[in-house]
């Protein structure tokens, strides 16, 4: 399933793509921002960093059994610092359609297009 985030900044495009990833699993309106977690990652280039960001979220979704709906990303060179707000998955309320296995490098792209940034890839479900 392809996901794509747009933003005025690269960080915002990363945040929007993370929101799109939650939408792959459930209706984002059904997710409440109750708890916050912190994510840090580092990669040799910003496309791999974007995949790392998504994979870090996938890891947190899997081990904490959580879904996220609000994100705050800060990019500093090769590093990403982020916070994600969400809640524990509730099968009755969220009806999760799939669990995400990983963010692939298929169609992976982080670029500035005219006035906005785009960050996209395909996630394996």
């Amino acid at each position: 399933m392809g996901i794509r985030g747009f933003g005025a900044t690269e960080a915002e495009a990363f945040e929007q793509a993370a929101l799109a990833m939650t939408a792959v699993v459930t209706d984002i309106e059904a997710v409440v921002a109750r708890e916050v977690i912190t994510i840090e990652c580092e990669s040799p280039d910003h496309e791999l960093l974007f995949a790392d960001w998504l994979n870090s979220l996938i890891y947190e979704m899997s081990t904490r059994k959580m879904l996220f709906r609000r994100f705050s990303v800060r990019l500093e060179g090769a590093r990403l610092h982020a916070q994600a707000w969400g809640e524990r998955v509730d099968p009755v309320r969220h009806h999760p359609a799939v669990e995400i296995k990983g963010a692939t490098y298929t169609e992976l792209r982080v670029a500035r297009e005219r006035e906005q940034w785009v960050a996209q890839t395909v996630v394996d479900v």
Binding site: Y59, T63, P91, H95, V98, K101, T106, D124
Partner: protein, 476 residues
Amino acid sequence: MDLTLFTRRSEFEWEIPMQGAMRVPAVIYASEALMREMDSKVHEQAVNVAKLPGIVKASYAMPDAHWGYGFPIGGVAAFDPDEGGVVSAGGVGFDISCGVRCLRTGLTRPDIMRDQNLLAEALYTRIPAGMGSTGLIHLNADEMDAMLTGGAKWAVDGGWGVPEDLERVEEHGQMLGAKPANVSEHAKKRQRDEMGTLGSGNHYLEVQEVTTLFDERIARIFGLKQGDVVVMIHCGSRGLGHQIGTDFLKRMAVAAGQYGITLPDRELACAPIHSDLGKEYLGAMRAAINCALANRQILTHLVRKVFADILPSAQLSLLYDVSHNTCKVEEHRVNGGSRKLYVHRKGATRAFGPGHPDVPEALREAGQPVLIGGSMGTGSYVLAGTAESEALAFSSACHGAGRAMSRHQALRTWKGRQVVDELAARGILIRSPSMRGVAEEAPNAYKDVTAVVDAAAAAGLARKVARVEPLVCIKG
């Protein structure tokens, strides 16, 4: 797909001749109709695989091939370690050792129909399925390492099965060469509470009826009769395999340059088999294979308990367990000689022919059972490996129907409840924690599995033995 890009070698064999950086040709086995419908990305991806170092004979794609990640889904490629051959994390995929297991029940359709609803409810209640579900088994660090080394054998030793099961699992239920130390703590943590869970997406557990026999002799050897009830389980190595795929995809993508490998697509991330990283991945991937084998073994135990409570006359015995996302070391005949090759099958099933020593003795004269999962509510197939499949595609066959429509499009086309009701009217009970998931997996979102299987059989990759149709489907 544009068929002018191919040289048609026979009715079911389409070749992309060597060009540019290709080291070998690419070959797709399919009917003309399947070729016309096939995603054009399969051509591009099969060509990219043909450019990888050490590839032997050809880059193959099965009749159910579709656009994958780096490798096409339905891709088969073998590499020679002594010719610079590589092992590719992308070529195995995220769901390492995802596969299908088939259990015979000793029951026939009339035996279960009175309790069909009860059976559906009990399986749904007692088999953990869907995102966020956890199993009943929680492993500490030592138990995790023992599971990653022991596979289905570890599960049987722990009481989740009987020793006779192991004979009917590839690698006798235990993949040798697994190195739990090569598996990251992240991967182990993802798996800690996921043993004995089905997962989600296209993973399922079905109670099925044998509706057609195509080969009575082989069906007899496999212990299948018309009207028999069987159980098929489709799932893989859960969070552990997904994390290993993620970890090594990145490491191999970053390291490719230092090994002098030019990747036509980053998703083809690979490392020489003889390199430290290649060896490290192989040890971790084999641990993930054991995780998948243990997981399907535990699910088997849970299914047996449900049947024992509801239909105590049932005797659930394993027909076979196949994995369709792997890289395995196998001996193959190439140009008249025997070579030890690293065979990647991504969405493709091993299909050893009659007499192969790795096929269980009781099944050997028939060839290896090849279990093909169809879409929810249509049908699945039991095939048998052929002798000619060795020369055609390193003894490989298709693995399923393959999607014809995106999840997004399926969701716009159907409602989950409508799919459940329509299938119930046809006598098929669906149970799932997610109606949206059901809509995304609607039967018509997939290609016609019969067309895929017919093409595999006509190409000589495998022989048709039986068709089975669902009575109950538990969807993750």
